[in-house]
């Protein structure tokens, strides 16, 4: 049974299919949720709970999504944002708008951090960790969750072109960094 068939079985009330969908996507939902609100695991788990229970309650009225993971991650983000927006003090990093300035040269602080990294993987992780949150989110959705740019745009509430721009800026920085750092670290032979 492919995912779409599982989905239809779940809609017909098949609890086994529902459980399989849960098992297929729980890890992605968890890591994505935790990347949005790292401070509270139980809050993220509560929100995943809400997404699945609501699916069950509304199952007969749902259509079959083309990309189920996209559908679930989007529902999860909506749930998280909704609950956080009800608070008087919203979580800053989530709502931070993405007007960061493009840096012309890699700053020395980052270079120092990269220099102390043990290996290339750590260097790349540190590099991504210092990107603006929305660029990081777009990279995660494109290169780990394997969503297309239309879907990423929908999750980030921007159009497809803006979603591409977020990834574009991250990639440009990464390439520039690789060029300047590879002189020291021989990161890649091709630059």
């Amino acid at each position: 049974m492919n995912e779409q068939q599982l989905w239809q079985a779940f809609q017909a009330g098949d609890e086994g299919a529902y459980t399989q969908l849960y098992q297929l996507h729980i890890k992605a939902m968890y890591r994505y949720g935790m990347s949005l609100v790292a401070v509270s695991e139980s809050f993220v788990l509560d929100c995943i709970h809400d997404v699945f229970t609501e699916l069950w309650a509304k199952r007969e009225r749902l259509s079959t999504p083309d990309n189920i993971r996209y559908y679930l991650l989007r529902s999860l983000k909506n749930r998280i944002m909704h609950l956080l927006e009800r608070k008087e003090r919203p979580l800053t990093p989530l709502l931070e708008t993405d007007y960061e300035t493009l840096w012309a040269e890699p700053d020395t602080e980052l270079l120092d951090a990269l220099e102390t990294a043990d290996n290339q993987q750590q260097r790349l992780q540190r590099f991504i960790a210092q990107l603006p949150p929305r660029q990081q989110e777009a990279l995660k959705l494109r290169f780990v969750e394997n969503m297309n740019y239309d879907q990423i745009g929908a999750i980030l509430a921007v159009n497809q072109q803006s979603a591409k721009n977020l990834v574009f800026r991250a990639i440009e920085k990464l390439r520039r960094l690789i060029i300047s750092v590879s002189l020291i670290f021989q990161l890649f032979f091709w630059v």
Binding site: S40, W56, R86, K87, R89, Q121, F127, L139, K164, W190
Partner: protein, 368 residues
């Protein structure tokens, strides 16, 4: 119609869904397409390979994210919670767990009220406690008591918390900087060290309890329809956390020892009353009255006896002083609980008593 791949830069490839899809999850079809394309465009192969390496670099940079750990226990536990909620909502034609707009929340609440089962509180999707933690700026320390017995925890300021089973407390890393803020779900008794500069605040469901140094109990389980705060010594102020809607007045009550407030979560109201079993209040030894009274009386004037009760339990007792000034009591009340002591006094003078708003009022009675 394919894009003009032969004019693509490295970045263009990374912004192309078909290319990235192929890198992440190649299919027979995509393999065939790119093999043919590379054969037809040998001079673009270097660019294509750089793009591929850049994808690998990004994947490496996202390694921790992609490998976020989630234990099988957590997966199973969450699944059973989901099933439990589904079991509640299945027989109900209109689901109680509603999507998320405030107006609908209210509708959900009234549905549950009609059911009369308090079901709403059990199916409330996210506890207030978890919402509060999610909005903290800093990391926090959490203690969860999953054992069957109470657990004692010492906080950084040496205050102690006795945590009832199935309860959790958390405090942020900033605990003790400006004030001492702690979040509770479930039941806990707090013994707070005195520090007038840093108020001790307990957030529990809709209530905030503010103290400077005292002993008190808070009971605020997510699944219960009321929140209790009981004072054992000292004074505490209890406020509504955030009043829903437009009324912004912070209304609250001041509690003295042996008083408690019960907050009804559905009607949003406070009721102040005495605790069921008032206890003799522990006082610092330096006070004039060095020990609790012996409660042993021999022809003792009733006003004196009542004064002893007030002092020992810290409970206000109103009565007609003139009418009772000639009454006397001979009895040993030492081992009687508070309510029995009161009953004996009242029986002696032919009076009755009421508990009103956390105080005792003695009605009638006289001695000629």
């Amino acid at each position: 119609m394919y894009p003009a791949y032969d004019t693509f830069t490295v970045t263009d490839f990374l912004l192309d869904d078909a290319f990235v899809d192929h890198q992440l999850a190649p299919t027979d079809q995509s393999n065939q397409f790119w093999t043919e394309w590379l054969a037809a465009h040998p001079h673009r192969r270097a660019i294509w390979q750089q793009a591929e390496q850049l994808v690998r670099a990004i994947e490496q940079g996202l390694y921790d994210y992609a490998h976020t750990q989630l234990s099988d226990d957590t997966v199973q536990h969450l699944l059973s919670r989901i099933r439990q909620t589904n079991a509640y909502s299945t027989p109900v034609p209109e689901p109680i767990v509603r999507p998320l707009r405030r107006a609908r929340w209210l509708a959900a609440a009234s549905v549950a009220l009609l059911l009369g089962a308090g079901l709403w509180w059990f199916t409330r999707p996210v506890s207030i406690y978890n919402e509060q933690l999610a909005t903290l700026d800093t990391a926090f320390t959490e203690y969860a008591n999953t054992a069957g017995v109470t657990q004692k925890i010492t906080l950084p300021d040496q205050s102690t918390v006795v945590l009832a089973p199935d309860s959790r407390v958390s405090y942020p890393r900033t605990f003790g900087q400006k004030n001492r803020t702690i979040y509770l779900t479930g039941e806990a008794t707090f013994a707070v060290t005195k520090n007038a500069d840093k108020p001790f605040l307990v957030y529990a469901n809709e209530l905030v309890t503010k103290v400077l140094g005292t002993r008190f109990l808070v009971r605020a389980y997510t699944g219960e329809s009321s929140v209790h705060v009981q004072v054992q010594s000292g004074q505490v102020a209890v406020y509504r956390d955030k009043v829903v809607g437009t009324t912004n007045k912070q209304h609250g009550v001041l509690l003295m020892p042996n008083q408690q407030v019960v907050f009804n979560r559905q009607s949003d109201q406070f009721i102040k009353q005495l605790v069921d079993l008032p206890q003799v209040v522990v006082r610092p030894p330096s006070r004039e009255r060095s020990a609790a009274p012996a409660f042993t009386y021999s022809d003792t004037p009733i006003p004196q006896v009542i004064q002893d009760l007030q002092d020992a339990y810290g409970i206000d007792i109103r009565y007609n002083k003139e009418a009772l000034s000639n009454c006397q009591l001979t009895a040993s009340l030492q081992n009687e609980p508070f309510a029995s002591k009161l009953r004996i006094i009242c029986a002696t003078v032919g009076a009755t008593y009421d508990m009103v708003d956390g105080q005792i009022v003695i009605n009638g009675g006289s001695c000629l």
